[in-house]
């Protein structure tokens, strides 16, 4: 059973004090020059440690600790960093080699312990700041950029911020506007922010109907005009909604001009924009680069090119741009079709 590093640190700390006192008597590398990693330390590692802690000898280095590269050494192993610059007695690499010979955790586990002079070299190297000079050794692979995941969901924080000092729209006003065919509700129960959409009666969703939303314009956070009959003209009215958080224009007749109109008004709250299935091109994407609040942009089935998406992506690095719908390839015809049916019991 391996003890935790903390326990080792406590135990070995004592050992180090005793050991260090003795070592000082004898003298370490004589001159006052700094210990060189490459000349003084690396040979010790190579001789005594690499067998278990270098990729050259071990496909899976023990304790997940690798000593064959600067970044690997600094990363450390299972128990954390192996080297704490300036603190030999907190550095596992030093602690483990200075344990008493009979200790189960001593390194190296086989053969004679590291010599006193070598221990002192290690100690001094760490104490002097554990610098590596020009030596890099084997580099760690660059971590893959994490796949953009959905969430975390921050819409509640956004709603909260947007509804600050905002008065709810009187219900009589809402009822009046609803006569145009819009469905109007609070974004979350009790919020003064509104969601407006045309779920049924898509034919009611016209530029005129959007214009008629004017009495609600301060409160609209979500506006869905998906599949309605709006044109670029509707954007003149939409752009006047200061709390617009999410706008869905999918499968409408809008063009690049709509996005230009939208961007011109600097919609600072706009976080999600859906223009999938429209005639938008790369030219329409360009003005979107100014909407830095954007976090999701839906461009599937538009005329934008990969180059256009790449360009915008570099300008809006935090925005998730969805411009494809990867579907699995059709299944090969099944060889053994009767097997599935047998399943029911």
């Amino acid at each position: 059973m391996r003890r935790s590093l903390v326990a080792i640190a406590l135990l070995a700390g004592v050992v180090w004090l005793a050991d260090g006192a003795r070592a000082q008597d004898k003298s370490a590398p004589a001159d006052g020059a700094k210990v060189s990693f490459e000349k003084d330390v690396l040979p010790i590692f190579e001789m005594r440690c690499f067998e278990c802690h270098a990729i050259e000898y071990q496909r899976r280095p023990k304790g997940r600790l690798r000593l064959d590269g600067k970044e690997w050494i600094l990363r450390g192993g299972k128990g954390g960093s192996g080297v704490v610059p300036g603190e030999p007695n907190e550095s596992a690499i030093y602690m483990r080699v200075t344990l008493p010979e009979e200790h189960e955790d001593i390194m190296p586990p086989d053969g004679a312990p590291v010599s006193k002079a070598q221990k002192e070299t290690l100690r001094r190297w760490i104490e002097e700041g554990a610098e590596f000079g020009d030596w890099d050794g084997i580099k760690r692979p660059k971590p893959k950029p994490a796949a953009k995941t959905t969430g975390p969901d921050d819409r509640f924080t956004a709603y909260e911020a947007l509804s600050k000092d905002l008065d709810p729209v009187p219900s009589a006003t809402i009822a009046k506007v609803a006569k145009t065919g819009a469905r109007i509700e609070a974004v979350v129960p009790g919020s003064p922010l509104l969601r407006v959409e045309f779920v049924t009666g898509l034919e009611n969703g016209t530029d005129e109907a959007v214009k008629a939303l004017a009495p609600l314009r301060n409160n609209i956070a979500i506006l869905s005009l998906a599949q309605t009959r709006i044109t670029d003209g509707a954007l003149d009215h939409i752009a006047k909604m200061p709390r617009l958080y999410r706008l869905d224009l999918q499968r409408t007749a809008i063009t690049d001009k709509a996005l230009e109109t939208l961007a011109k008004q600097k919609p600072t709250a706009l976080t999600k924009l859906n223009v999938y299935g429209t005639g938008v091109t790369d030219r329409g994407l360009a003005p979107l680069a100014t909407i830095t609040s954007l976090r999701a942009l839906y461009l599937w089935q538009t005329k934008v090119t990969d180059a256009g998406v790449k360009m915008l992506s570099s300008q809006l690095p935090e925005c998730r741009i969805q411009n494809a719908r990867p579907l699995p390839a059709a299944a090969a015809p099944r060889q053994n079709n009767n097997r599935r049916r047998r399943g029911q019991n």
């Binding site: 994490a146 796949a147 953009k148 995941t149 959905t150 969430g151 975390p152 969901d153 819409r155 219900s171 809402i174 009822a175 609803a178 006569k179 145009t180 065919g181 819009a182 469905r183 109007i184 509700e185 609070a186 974004v187 979350v188 129960p189 009790g190 969601r195 779920v199 049924t200 009666g201 869905d248 999918q250 999600k272 859906n274 999938y276 999701a296 839906y298 599937w300 089935q301 969805q322 494809a324 719908r325 990867p326 579907l327 699995p328 390839a329 059709a330 299944a331 097997r339 599935r340 047998r342 399943g343 029911q344 019991n345």
Partner: protein
């Protein structure tokens, strides 16, 4: 007076059967097995409260008990694992069965729950529990989640049914003790869409209107005499049916409108086509769609059958997530995959390597609708036997869905006999998933 009492005392199932039967025989029309009033929103728009992180739910149900060890909670090297291997996914640290190679590319959108726990080890009971959050009793029928949603939030699209079950049969979702109008619409074969939804040919339009009109006249007098709620339901069925017959949104049920390659991508089987139908319905404002996949009761030949059962799910779910995402629907549509229980870690040798029922620990998935994807929640021990981290009871699972939908978890609704019930039976939502 006796008639009135009897009508009031009808339980929902009987009433529904009575009404749909009556409608069929009287109108030359196969009645829609649903009847709901427009709660809140009309076609011309209205005001309702609603909407939290999720507006819609696509609920994928693996009927029979899906083996957690062979799908989403693999234990490579354990004696309980068997031959199925784990593969890496797009989400760091989330590994799933080799049979889900397509889904693996979308696991950044999915949260795996590996600590599901139920106390019901038999199919009917487990299924009922999972759908309603309550245990099966002889004295009452509890509503399932879709019915709760429709009851509390109404419909988005007034001309389409509020919730739909594809390929499930009657023993899945239910309106429970709620009005018969909250009964889900069952669809048997998604490729056939909504059958019997057009006027029969030998009845002309004018004659049809005439019949409806005359029926209304006859009913008027009767309804005036007997003020029973069930009678109102009864006449609603006609209104709703007729409205749906005329609805442009009826096309939502017709998946033949989809391009061939899309239908092929979802998979040429009922589950795949059901998922495609679910997407079409959600797109048009149906808020709760359940799609059922059967055959997961792998008491025998468990490993062999995983090779048949999983690929259709893999293909359909990968397509569904991708499709919803491309349309900007995923962040408001919660996709749930669940089952009544897991399967025993111990492999039954004498039945060609089967697994038995195992409610103590099993797996489920949630994606979209505000769920933070790309990770696993909860943990079982090294052999998939015991939950060792963050157990999620069935009630908690349902509460999580209800929470995402913005339903008030403590709000009590009363059964006809006056007993109080809540949407998720006092379960606690797993808010860490959001």
């Amino acid at each position: 007076m006796r008639l009135k009492r009897n009508l009031n005392g009808f339980d929902p199932v009987t009433r529904r059967d009575f009404m749909s039967g009556a409608a069929k025989s009287l109108l030359g029309l196969s009645a829609m097995p649903f009847m709901a009033e427009l709660a809140g929103a009309g076609e011309t728009g209205a005001i309702t409260l609603g909407g939290a992180t999720a507006r819609n739910v696509i609920y994928l149900y693996m009927a029979g008990g899906m083996s957690h060890l062979d799908t989403f909670d693999l234990k490579p090297g354990a004696s309980t694992q068997g031959p199925i291997e784990a593969i890496d996914t797009r989400a760091d640290g989330v590994r799933i069965s080799q049979h889900f190679s397509q889904l693996a590319k979308h696991m950044d959108k999915v949260a795996v729950i590996n600590s599901m726990n139920s106390n019901q080890g038999a199919h009917a009971q487990g299924r009922y529990f999972m759908h309603t959050g309550y245990q099966l009793r002889g004295t009452i029928r509890h509503p399932s989640l879709g019915a709760w949603l429709e009851r509390m939030r109404g419909r988005l699209n007034g001309t389409l049914p509020g919730h739909v079950v594809v390929g499930g049969g009657a023993n899945m979702a239910t309106n429970g003790f709620f009005d018969a109008s909250l009964t889900p619409l069952p669809i048997g074969d998604p490729s056939e869409g909504l059958t019997n939804s057009s006027r029969v040919k030998h009845v002309s339009e004018s004659r049809f209107q005439d019949r409806i009109h005359r029926l209304e006249k006859m009913n008027e007098a009767f309804r005036g005499k007997y003020e029973a709620r069930s009678l109102k339901d009864y006449s609603k069925v006609y209104e709703e049916a007729v409205r749906l017959m005329d609805s442009k949104d009826l096309a939502a049920f017709d998946i033949s409108e989809e391009p061939d390659e899309v239908r092929a991508a979802y998979g040429d089987d009922r589950f795949g086509q059901g998922c495609l139908l679910a997407r079409r319905l959600v797109e048009r404002g149906v808020r709760f769609v359940e799609v059922v996949s059967g055959g997961w009761d792998t008491h025998s030949e468990n490993f062999d059958r995983m090779g048949d059962l999983c690929p259709p799910i893999d293909r359909a779910l990968a397509s569904l997530l991708s499709d919803l995402d491309a349309r900007g629907l995923l962040d408001e549509t919660m996709v749930v995959l669940t089952t009544e229980f897991g399967r025993s870690p111990d492999i039954v040798q004498d039945r060609n390597l089967g697994r038995n029922h195992y409610p103590q620990a099993f797996s489920a998935l949630m994606a979209g609708g505000g769920i933070k994807g790309g990770r696993a929640y909860g943990k079982t021990d090294g052999e998939g036997r015991k939950i060792i981290e963050n157990p999620v009871r069935v009630e908690d699972f349902n509460a999580t869905i209800a929470y995402a939908l913005g339903l008030p978890l403590e709000f009590k609704l009363y059964s006809p006999s006056g007993r109080p019930f809540t949407v998720a039976h006092d379960g606690k939502p797993v808010t860490e998933l959001f």
